[in-house]
């Protein structure tokens, strides 16, 4: 621990005011079924043993590395990467002096076809997060896991744990059965608002169809690189279905979806909205106006245009200085380091917003 901290000091040249870091995307992993059983009632423990997880099959692409984790993120304890709090402290929280980290647990509760089972898994996951992550580590906050294909069950879980101070967001995955603007998901947003929580949409999941609108591709890189398309579809749906006109205080964080595609999408949506306004007369505001007001982004995987000036143009076009939030995606292979991920050439003020202030304000952290 001390070694890492010392190395870090040296690498920043001893500057007196290092920017504070809030990491908006950390993955905590349930290490084993034995851990899960501690939090599952007998009925669902038996179900889990006998039948196990059942989601949409046929969309599996072996990921570049086991569990998509960095080689060096496997703890000496022998537990899976991302499941050992002590090692996460050492390798991430202490090493980079992270003020707050937001946990996004990706255990598959939300994608279960058996919705009641999914709800039980979500409850177990959230109770595990409280007991084994939030209580022992004051720097961590977490996202509420919900069975998002059932609005009632999801809202029930949000109401159950939504006032726990450790939970700062409701988590959905970007690949849902239907686009998130569809009415069935509205109850989730209302529940989030009851507890003054933003809704996070994270990379991943398995929808009811292929990862592309053109069918199933062949390689992991197409699945991984296809997620930004899924994010774009969700933005289109949420905006065009009038979710924000109905729920004007709703805030949505797009996590691990990239952001370079957003400005062109705003332009395309505005163009379509002007031409096709007769189809959705209730949509009063230009989509770009709604997007600027309601969507936040995390930075990882950082966009990397070949020219620094393209990055500056991109930020200006996006107009999201107050809505961009740093994230590492620890312990995954495409980890972004707090020390080097944000391109140089940004003002100190903007870096400060990206590294901590925007997240502090969205998630209500002190």
């Amino acid at each position: 621990m001390a070694t890492a901290a010392t190395t870090r000091q040296a690498s920043t040249g001893g500057k007196k005011s290092r920017l504070e870091v809030i990491d908006c995307d950390i993955h905590n992993i349930i290490p084993s079924n034995e851990t899960l059983y501690k939090y599952l009632p007998e009925r669902w423990r038996r179900h889990h043993q006998q039948f196990g997880l059942r989601g949409h099959l046929g969309g599996y692409y072996p990921r570049a590395l086991m569990n998509a984790a960095r080689h060096d993120a496997w703890p000496p304890s022998g537990l899976p990467a991302g499941s050992d709090l002590e090692f996460m402290r050492e390798q991430l929280l202490d090493a980079y002096d992270i003020r707050y980290g937001i946990l996004n647990c990706l255990y598959g509760a939300g994608g279960q076809l058996n919705l009641e089972y999914g709800a039980a898994l979500a409850r177990a996951t959230n109770d595990w997060q409280i007991a084994e992550w939030l209580e022992p580590e004051p720097r961590l906050r977490a996202s509420i896991i919900v069975p998002y294909e059932d609005g009632d069950l999801a809202a029930e879980e949000i109401d159950r744990v939504g006032d726990h101070p450790g939970f700062v967001q409701v988590l959905l995955l970007v690949r849902t059965n239907e686009p998130l603007g569809r009415p069935k998901y509205r109850k989730i947003y209302r529940a989030a608002l009851r507890h003054n929580l933003p809704v996070g949409i994270h990379f991943g999941g398995a929808g009811a169809g292929p990862i592309t609108g053109a069918g199933w591709p062949s390689h992991y890189i197409e699945d991984h690189g296809g997620m930004p398309q899924a994010f774009q579809a969700q933005v289109i749906s949420l905006v065009c279905e009038g979710v924000f006109e109905q729920l004007p205080s709703l805030k949505v964080a797009l996590i691990e979806g990239g952001f370079a595609w957003m400005a062109p999408l705003m332009w395309r949506l505005d163009h379509g909205w002007r031409k096709l306004s007769e189809e959705i007369p209730a949509l009063r505001l230009p989509p770009s106006t709604t997007i600027r007001k309601h969507f936040w982004f995390t930075t990882q995987p950082m966009e990397e245009p070949p020219q620094p000036r393209y990055f500056r143009q991109l930020l200006e076009q996006l107009d999201a200085d107050d809505r961009m939030m740093f994230a590492t995606d620890y312990p995954h292979w495409d980890f972004d380091s707090p020390e080097s991920a944000v391109p140089s050439g940004l003002s100190r003020e903007l870096r400060k917003k990206i590294m901590s202030e925007n997240a502090r304000s969205l998630y209500g952290l002190d």
Binding site: A64, V174, R175, T176, N177, E178, P179, G181, R182, G207, A208, G209, T212, G213, A214, G215, W216, P217, S218, H219, Y220, I221, E222, H224, G225, G226, M227, P228, Q229, A230, Q232, A233, Q234, I236, S237, C240, E241, G258, A260, W261, P264, L265, W267, R268, H271, G272, K275, L276, E278, E279, I280, P301, E303, E304, P305, P306, Y310, Q313, Q317, D334
Partner: protein, 361 residues
Amino acid sequence: MVRESGNEAQRPFWSGRPVIDCDLHNEVPSLEVLRPYLADHWCDYIEESAFRGPDADDYPKGAPTTIRPGLEWEGEVEGQLALMRRQVLDPLQVEFGVLDCAYRVQGVHDPELAGALASAINRWQAEHWLDRDPRLRASIVAPTQSPVLAAREIDRWGADARFVQAVMPVRSLIPYGNRIYDPIYEAAARHDLVVGIQFGGSPGHPPTPSGWLSTYLEEYAAMAQVFQSQVTSLIVEGVFDRFPDLRVSLIEAGCTWMPSLMWRLDKEWRGLRRDIPWVKRPPSDYIRRHIRLTLQPVDAPPSGKQLLEVIGQLDSDEMLMFATDHPHWHFDRLEEAFPAGLSDSLARRVLADNARSFYRL
């Protein structure tokens, strides 16, 4: 490359410059017009089953994006062609106009019927469009869901120089990088044809990775992402490595999203190239070499300066090809069909030179 130039605004963009329009729509008004080209078997089948055409609705009949409001839509060829001449070919003094017929035989599950319809459409295009106006070029409609039959159809027209590309809808059953499509690319290579990927299609699965969208506006906006998936697939699955001379046009795809896709794919490739060792160069390099975009709809930002920035971010003056997308509604006056502020040399490339060399016109 992109430069503001002073007296650009005074004269219309086409004045003194050759124009090639890479996206004009010729619509099959009804199955009736195809009957003369269909075998008796299919005529009987259509009659008895009350088949009315592919299960597709890429361009809802009355939507403003399909046909600009206030236009009299005259369905028969004479009417369509007269309108096209009056609104585009004559005023812009178009040297060549490329027809992109969007009749979706690819959405017909029976490959034999799809093939018969495609053949009929191409004969109809040749007789009723190409024979009538020497400025026109056309796209071969082919049952691309059945690549062997599609290749046969491409071979049928390969010797007719007026057919300059084979067209496929962007929404496919499986992505176009997959090897099952190789017969199509082999046929395109045999005849030195462009493969065009066009807005729309109805393969039966949802248009997004997260299901079916409620409205046409959403589906319209989301079509850009399907193009992004196809570009990814073509490169990643090695089509341009197997067919190093293949040229692919993206038709009616929008174009401002392309720089962001290049950056993302290059980054994905740096991280995951081990999985796809046949992809030797950064994906953006393949894109600039093999892929072109038709101009309309531009999906332009509100500021002209930002549009010039985005065009600059393509890092290529060869990728854009002028198109009006007639009769779809993307601009109100012809003057607005082309971005202001391009340097003269870039404007000339976009208006004609890029298409001339890409389509070998």
